[in-house]
Subunit: 93 residues, 4 copies
């Protein structure tokens, strides 16, 4: 990427817009059906992930570290004994 | 996550919807302004990444491998000498 | 539309997905720039609006009525004297 | 709205972002289930519609006119005899 001098376009806002745009292309695999073509799915997931990594990099964060920190917070908000088998938001448990 | 028995809700389609929903929350950090609160930004980015990892896991793929494969394809579509400093789509180069 | 027998695909959920997908195509007009081609913008806005109207129709609601009801609620949440010239959420006023 | 002096925030780009954000809140009604609470659905649909109308107004266009023009184009791309009962894109018919 660096040698294409694209990072000038990679402001945090443009990357956030790009993540939304690519996420919608992923969703499009399921637009009219519950089943999706797996090749297309992987391709679009890769695009979302790529922009997420570029944004993490821009913010000087490690993507996996971000996930682990967040999971830690989630596990505190959703105690196992209350949340088992439910999809409710934590304030409704 | 496993001990909460949430994976029953984690169909590929539900995860794709979740990625779009969290991507929009990330975008919301920039709804009325070009600047965003960095704490909020990291929090929302972590959510998008988490669902991306769950979907990759569901599809038995390694997230970083997906990104690398995609970057390889991109670098073939956008030759350095044509794409330097441009944000055009490859079919307009 | 009726004569194409497409309404079988137009479940509320599929229409909600479609609205998100088309909204992202509208956003794509601004992916790398603050300025957008007006023709493309109108085209994508028309797509979002069309799916919104189809969903309103499915729910037997008048789109303009929905907007007016919502504006009424908003004007109660954001009193003119507090909200003038601010983009804060109502719980921060 | 006018008396709250909010239109300074209502640039086409900010409105496009807002449409995506609200569309995702509409989608959230279906995040973990095929069924949605109708009240919440109508509320979120109203938000998407409101921002669509604000953007149409900004671009000095009539929303219903935009829809009709688009439907005219669609009906030319998807001839009734080919498209009946199918959800394929027009280039696959």
């Amino acid at each position: 990427m660096r040698e294409r001098e694209w990072s000038q376009f990679h402001t945090p806002q443009n990357l956030a817009k790009s993540i939304s745009i690519e996420a919608a292309e992923l969703l499009e695999c399921f637009q009219w059906s519950d089943a999706a073509d797996e090749g297309a799915l992987l391709d679009e997931l890769a695009d979302v992930l790529t922009y997420c990594y570029l944004l993490a990099d821009k913010l000087r964060q490690d993507p996996v570290e971000l996930i682990l920190t967040k999971l830690q917070k989630t596990s505190e908000k959703y105690p196992v004994d209350k949340a088992r088998g439910r999809s409710d938001k934590y304030d409704r448990l």
